[in-house]
């Protein structure tokens, strides 16, 4: 393409890299400390280390490392106040920054663990459901294929699932997930071995006339929806629009009649009526300008 320049991508990447490299340097540029702003900063950070949401989170976590960091931050704030009293503004400012960084890093760590834990728990439950489904599928497929090794393989998968459940009960969802992943890899690999290269045909089989009626009713509803879809997509000629509407009404009447017959357990007749309705809709969809094969 004429507008394409291989250098444009390179330029974008270079610009992004430059931004990334220069950003920390810019962020580290200090605003000169003065007694008024540093005094205000000491007040704010004093609040942060004594009665903030961050303090509640750290104290509520019971995490020894976080508690130690909080204690250190409080000491730093006290020392910063002392520095301020003796006019050592830069030194006070440094200590306040250190206190702020300590509290923030601990809160981030604790929040991260919480979020990660919740995510792992959710992933565990989803993966457990998937692995159980794949195990059931594998057992069914293996039975169809008369696979002798299948029982042993299924047992190996079940063992892994059991171990994963044990880990999860102990709150170690990350390790449980790893075990489930192993089970999943075995199950899907074994299913592939039994199914690879095959074509399975899902034939239409109805046990009862009522079952076939339900299927036909769904098919008929689909065709009504498809006709509306076709009309929103195409703009048929004015002369055709009247015929389309007339056919749609006729198809609706046929469906209504089918539903009445079905309500009286007359399923065979109802199926016939629905077939007539669907065939008419199919013809009408084609009239609207959509190509429908068959």
């Amino acid at each position: 393409m004429s507008k394409f320049s291989p250098f444009r991508s390179l330029l974008a990447i270079t610009a992004a890299a430059l931004l990334a490299v220069s950003w920390p340097a810019a962020a580290q540029q200090r605003v000169p400390a003065d007694p008024a702003t540093t005094g205000q900063k000491a007040e704010f950070i004093g609040n942060l280390v004594t009665r903030s949401v961050s303090v509640s989170r750290i104290e509520g976590s019971g995490d020894a490392a976080a508690m130690a960091s909080l204690a250190e931050a409080r000491t730093l704030v006290d020392r910063a106040r002392a520095d301020l009293k003796r006019g050592a503004v830069e030194a006070a400012d440094d200590k306040l920054d250190q206190a702020l960084a300590l509290v923030n890093s601990e809160v981030r760590r604790l929040s991260g663990d919480e979020v990660r834990g919740a995510h792992e728990q959710e992933m565990y439950h989803r993966r457990l459901k998937a692995v159980n489904t794949f195990l059931a599928t594998y057992q069914r497929v293996a039975k169809e294929s008369n696979s002798r090794a299948a029982a042993r393989r299924a047992e190996a998968i079940r063992t892994l699932i059991g171990k994963a459940e044990d880990q999860a009960r102990g709150g170690r969802h990350d390790q449980a997930l790893e075990l489930l992943d192993d089970a999943y890899v075995i199950a899907r690999g074994d299913i592939r071995e039994l199914r690879q290269g095959k074509t399975l045909t899902r034939t239409l089989d109805f046990a009862t006339a009522g079952e076939e009626y339900d299927y036909e009713l769904g098919r008929n509803r689909s065709h009504f929806l498809l006709l509306r879809f076709a009309l929103s997509e195409k703009t048929p000629a004015g002369s055709v629009v009247g015929r389309i509407e007339s056919n749609r009404k006729k198809a609706e009447e046929l469906r209504g009649a089918a539903e009445k017959r079905a309500a009286a357990d007359g399923y065979p007749d109802a199926i016939d009526l629905l077939n007539q309705s669907t065939d008419l809709l199919l013809k009408t969809i084609r009239m609207s300008g959509i190509f429908v094969p068959g």
């Binding site: 899907r188 592939r192 690879q196 399975l200 769904g218 689909s222 879809f229 190509f291 094969p293």
Partner: protein, 229 residues
């Protein structure tokens, strides 16, 4: 175009397509019942305020009034005032030379992958990881003279992991999935992807691709013989 540039282009395209769908579908699933007009194209807040149709939810993947693959500064997604936007590669440039189709972003992604023009990563942290391919074809018989539906696992597993579909969307068991065109149009089953980020349903033949033999038609007719008893 390098592999890496291709990957970036594909990820951007898919993210844009998926983002558009996600924005549009929240709380806007149309219902089939009644005579209310079916909502095939639904404007999002972004379009309702006027600047762009880029995030329009559209079951047919068409964006009325909007060119496909326009430059980022005009797509309604990126901030045109940001100088960085001007540095972004245009999708039309990234997709140049890819096999074309008439839908979505006009790229036939399956053919593009088959031709080796792109190499998407299977795993974020392992560029060498290979996808788990499954060559299993499911044919679903349908009523009437309509050709049967052919579902190839192979093309799908080139892009997706088994757990993307099983078993939240499809239960891997015969007879366990009720699939209807109405449901698909309303964004269920196949419609979760098709018409959003994969080719839309406007061409029946892409799925209904196995014509019935005369023998099959005869057998189907006999199966529902109670309808004539």
């Amino acid at each position: 175009m390098t592999d890496r540039a291709s990957i970036i282009a594909v990820l951007s395209a898919l993210a844009i397509a998926a983002g558009g769908a996600a924005l549009g579908t929240a709380g806007q699933v149309p219902q089939p019942a009644g005579d209310a007009p079916i909502i095939i194209a639904q404007a999002t807040g972004a379009q309702a305020t006027g600047p762009s149709a880029a995030n329009t939810f559209n079951r047919l993947m068409k964006r009325p009034g909007s060119e496909p693959n326009i430059q980022p500064s005009k797509d309604g997604i990126h901030d045109p005032a940001n100088p960085g936007t001007a540095l972004l590669q245009w999708p039309s440039e990234a997709f140049a030379g890819f096999p074309r189709t008439n839908d979505g972003n006009r790229v036939d992604w399956v053919k593009t992958l088959a031709a080796g023009l792109i190499r998407p990563w299977t795993e974020l942290e392992d560029p060498e990881a290979e996808p788990f391919l499954m060559d299993l074809t499911i044919v679903r018989q349908v009523k009437g003279s309509m050709p049967n539906v052919v579902y190839p696992h192979l093309e799908h597993t080139q892009w997706l992991d088994c757990t993307n579909c099983h078993d939240e969307i499809f239960v891997p068991e015969k007879g366990a999935n009720q699939i209807s065109m109405a449901g698909i149009l309303l964004g269920q089953k196949c419609g979760i992807c098709h018409g959003r980020v994969a080719f839309p349903i406007s061409d029946c033949r892409r799925c209904h691709s196995q014509p019935k033999t005369a023998e099959e038609l005869r057998q189907l007719s006999e199966k529902s013989s109670w309808a004539k008893q």
